[in-house]
């Protein structure tokens, strides 16, 4: 029985971590290419609203998820045109993107407030999904969770095992040098921004289609900002982003249980716990490496205009 309780806790932890993994891994790719997109929160919530609307209209969770990703991608495209194409300031553009995304999500979601849907279906393999202790954790998740895990593996492999990944990291390190070598700095950056937007939109879709299957304004509750912080403190490494997200999820579940148990601590303090724990752990982690070189992509946030 205790094994099943542990499993139940782990399943909720993974569920809480999934939107952060999705949004964080997308932002990681954009930042590795040298683009700082502070609009994650906006892309995420627009994705949440759009995916719920699409799912309601088509009655398909899958199309809803695709709609969420496309919504994030469209906002990211706007951001990419501004910052990569027109060399606008990335910080200002990213912050405006968040405000725009919040506004658009209210508009798109206006007609759907208070409506509930069935959550995204969970995998059910007869036999395997019922294994005691691990069945639900490994074989009973919804497609978002598997996608998030697969994305972490795929992005790790892409960045460090493929030539295109090397090109992307090089462009994030020094856009002048890579431009001089003839690498397509702006194209790679634009594509990375699009990928980041699609991932953030998918993370939003997970919230409104699976985690809490309804739409309510402001439902991302700052998860986009947490994802941004995760990327920085995870020193731009995919596995660390996933670990940080799981830690955040774990602390979230823990504080819920603590509040239910009535520890006597103020609820607000406990609600802040996941944020504090995640930041603390990742700060300690990033202290590990010292010496020369730079932890962050060296060209991060710097605007590139090709020399004449």
């Amino acid at each position: 029985m205790t094994l099943d309780i542990v499993q139940m806790v782990l399943v909720t932890v993974l569920a809480a971590a999934t939107p952060l993994i999705l949004a964080g891994i997308g932002e990681l790719v954009a930042e590795r290419a040298g683009v700082l997109n502070l609009g994650v929160e906006g892309m995420m919530i627009f994705g949440a609203a759009a995916s719920f609307a699409v799912a309601m209209q088509t009655d398909s969770t899958f199309l809803g998820a695709v709609g969420g990703a496309v919504a994030g991608l469209l906002l990211a495209a706007l951001f990419g045109i501004l910052t990569v194409g027109l060399a606008a300031n990335q910080v200002a553009s990213g912050l405006s993107l968040t405000i725009l995304g919040l506004g658009l999500s209210g508009l798109v979601g206006a007609g759907y407030v208070g409506i509930k849907r069935d959550p995204a279906p969970h995998l059910a393999i007869p036999g395997l999904s019922d294994l005691p202790g691990i069945g639900q954790l490994l074989f009973g998740q919804d497609a978002f969770v598997y996608t998030a895990v697969a994305l972490v593996a795929a992005v790790s492999w892409f960045l460090w095992r493929t030539r295109s990944g090397l090109t992307l990291r090089a462009i994030g390190d020094d856009h002048v040098a890579t431009h001089a070598l003839g690498l397509k700095v702006r194209k790679v950056r634009f594509l990375s921004v699009l990928f980041g937007g699609a991932c953030a939109g998918l993370g939003g879709a997970y919230l409104s289609l699976a985690y809490t299957p309804f739409w309510s304004p402001g439902m991302t509750a700052g998860r986009g900002w947490i994802a941004l912080a995760l990327v920085v403190f995870a020193s731009w490494r995919p596995l660390r982003v996933a670990a940080g997200a799981l830690l955040f999820g774990g602390a979230t579940v823990l504080q819920l249980h603590a509040q239910a148990a009535g520890l006597g601590l103020p609820g607000q303090l406990l609600s802040a716990l996941p944020y504090l724990a995640t930041i603390l752990a990742l700060v300690l982690l990033s202290l590990g490496r010292r010496g020369g070189g730079s932890l962050a992509p060296a060209a991060l946030g710097r605007v590139f205009t090709p020399s004449r």
Partner: protein, 539 residues
């Protein structure tokens, strides 16, 4: 295949000799109203080292970028073995066998050597296979590299080796080298020359861009000279003197650096007494018992290979790093080891660091703001903590006029100036304060001949007015030209200073390599070298 050439280019082709490997005919490149290349013709043959000479801003870089596919010419054609070719991007240039060794290395600091090389290799070549090829090439040409080291931990010489290896791995038929020796020590330059000769013997063409005329005369038999975007001459550099080449580049005779006539040496103004400093980080050099003394009117030159403690010595002198004992650094007799840079400036010292962009000047700030940054302790540029903008602009203007700094606009950002002009500005900014002690690190690094001569003359004139000057430089020609005595910094230890007239390049070169045992082949450095345009010093 001449039929493919338009008549205009055909007319420009030289009538004699075999078809050139690469040709550029009637190249015009305009940026708005500015014409960087104006009808340039250039022919490069296999098996030759062709020199491209010109001042900063003469259009050399533009022409190179066109040949490497980074820029498209407004007019004109590029030919390969007589056929017109299109070079829309560097990949196309690489496919035709054009390789490039950049002056400002196009390397990503946080990637490893192998990763930097892999960036331009065919996609199927990576990992172990690439590391093997890097190693094999290293043995073949004496260009040793550790494929797994990150670039930020490497010296300038090693970084250039990466550029060269990256270029050679593509088996190029034409190698373009942009100011390849500007960051190298004499020993490293010798190694480079050996590699270049070998490449030439293998039948490759090399386009060698330099403002070091002695090197050009040693390596090249054909030279094309650019001035103001136009070809102003072609010659065999070996039949010219360094002086006549420089005259062609500048368009008039180069100003000579006039040495001081003897000159009375005053009292001691700068003194280091057994200064030892631990290395500030993993890749820095510790200083051991460094002692020196510079008197008013004297110029002391510090020679040494990069990375032997020059940056650390400069930091200790300027106050960027404090000495453990205050009296190990003295200015006019006062112990200043514990004082910061501005306190030392107020005592009459001036400092010009090595790196123009980012250390001596803030590239995104205007010249007047940059003047303010280093001069506010010594000039009255602030009142009650508020900046007197007019006074700062006046000061910048005086420096600009006195040092003939060429710029666009009334008060442009420092980063928009060419290297030579910005260097004139940062040196002029300190000299204008008439400091009692001036410390300069690499005064003419990567600066064209005319600007270098201007800076050296200003330094000599300042010494004549009684200033004690310490010049740290990798350029032995420069030290012999301006310094009264020379000491050598090797592995954080300073040799005793000897009068420049009583020593030789060989002797200094040996000390730079760490004296006797495993000295680099510097003996050769001495023989064919003729001094820069100014035959100032006794040789």
């Amino acid at each position: 295949m001449d039929a493919t050439l338009p008549a205009s280019a055909l007319a420009r082709r030289s009538k004699e000799g075999p078809t050139p490997l690469f040709g550029a005919y009637g190249i015009v490149k305009r940026f708005g109203s500015f014409t960087a290349n104006d009808g340039v013709d250039l022919e490069i043959r296999a098996g030759e080292i062709h020199a491209l000479l010109g001042e900063n801003g003469a259009g050399k870089s533009t022409l190179m970028k066109i040949l490497y596919g980074l820029l498209e010419p407004t007019e004109g054609v590029v030919t390969h073995k007589g056929d017109i070719v299109q070079l829309p991007n560097p990949e196309a240039a690489r496919r035709l066998g054009i390789g490039m060794v950049f002056q400002h290395f196009s390397l990503c600091e946080n990637l490893t050597v192998a990763e930097n090389i892999a960036l331009v290799m065919p996609k199927d070549l990576s990992g172990r296979a690439l590391a093997d090829r890097i190693a094999r090439l290293g043995i073949d040409y004496g260009l040793h590299l550790d494929p797994d080291r990150p670039v930020w931990s490497l010296s300038a010489g090693e970084r250039q080796r990466i550029e060269i290896v990256r270029c050679l791995l593509q088996d190029p038929s034409l190698v373009i080298l942009d100011e390849p020796t500007s960051v190298l020590t004499p020993g490293e330059a010798e190694v480079l020359f050996t590699v270049l000769e070998r490449l030439r013997e293998e039948g490759r063409a090399l386009l060698y861009i330099s403002h070091r005329l002695d090197e050009v005369r040693r390596l090249c038999v054909r030279a094309t000279i650019l001035r103001g975007g136009k070809v102003v001459g072609a010659c065999n550099p070996r039949e010219e003197t360094a002086r006549s080449l420089a005259a062609m580049m500048v368009g008039s005779a180069v100003r000579e650096v006039t040495p001081r006539e003897g000159g009375a040496v005053g009292r001691e103004r700068l003194r280091l007494d057994r200064l030892s400093l631990p290395a500030p980080d993993l890749h820095a050099t510790a200083l051991h018992d460094v002692s020196l003394s510079v008197a008013g009117g004297e110029i002391l030159g510090i020679a040494g290979i990069a990375g032997n403690g020059q940056a650390e010595l400069f930091a200790a002198l300027s106050g960027e790093s404090r000495a453990p004992e205050p009296d190990s650094v003295r200015l006019d007799g006062k112990p200043v080891g514990a004082l910061g840079i501005n306190a030392r400036r107020r005592l009459g010292a001036g400092f010009v660091p090595e790196e123009r962009n980012g250390h001596a000047a803030a590239p995104l700030m205007s010249l007047s703001e940059n003047a303010l940054l280093s001069r506010y302790p010594t000039a009255s540029l602030t009142r009650f903590g508020l900046i007197r903008l007019g006074a700062a602009r006046d000061l910048a203007k005086r420096v600009i006029e006195a040092f003939d700094v060429r710029k666009a606009g009334p008060d442009p950002a420092a980063g928009t100036l060419s290297g030579g002009n910005l260097q004139k500005f940062v040196v002029g900014r300190e000299i204008q304060a008439e400091p009692g002690v001036l410390v300069i690190n690499q005064p003419t690094w990567g600066v064209d001949a005319a600007a270098a001569a201007h800076i050296r003359q200003a330094v000599i004139d300042l010494a004549a007015r009684g200033t004690a000057i310490l010049v740290i430089s990798q350029d032995l020609d420069e030290l012999f030209e301006i310094a009264g005595s020379i000491a050598v910094l090797h592995d954080g230890t300073l040799s005793p200073a000897v009068p420049a007239g009583e020593t030789s390049r060989e002797a200094i070169g040996l000390l730079m390599g760490g004296s006797s045992d495993h000295a680099p082949p510097v003996a050769d450095v001495a023989h064919p070298r003729e001094p820069m345009p100014s035959p100032a010093h006794a040789h």
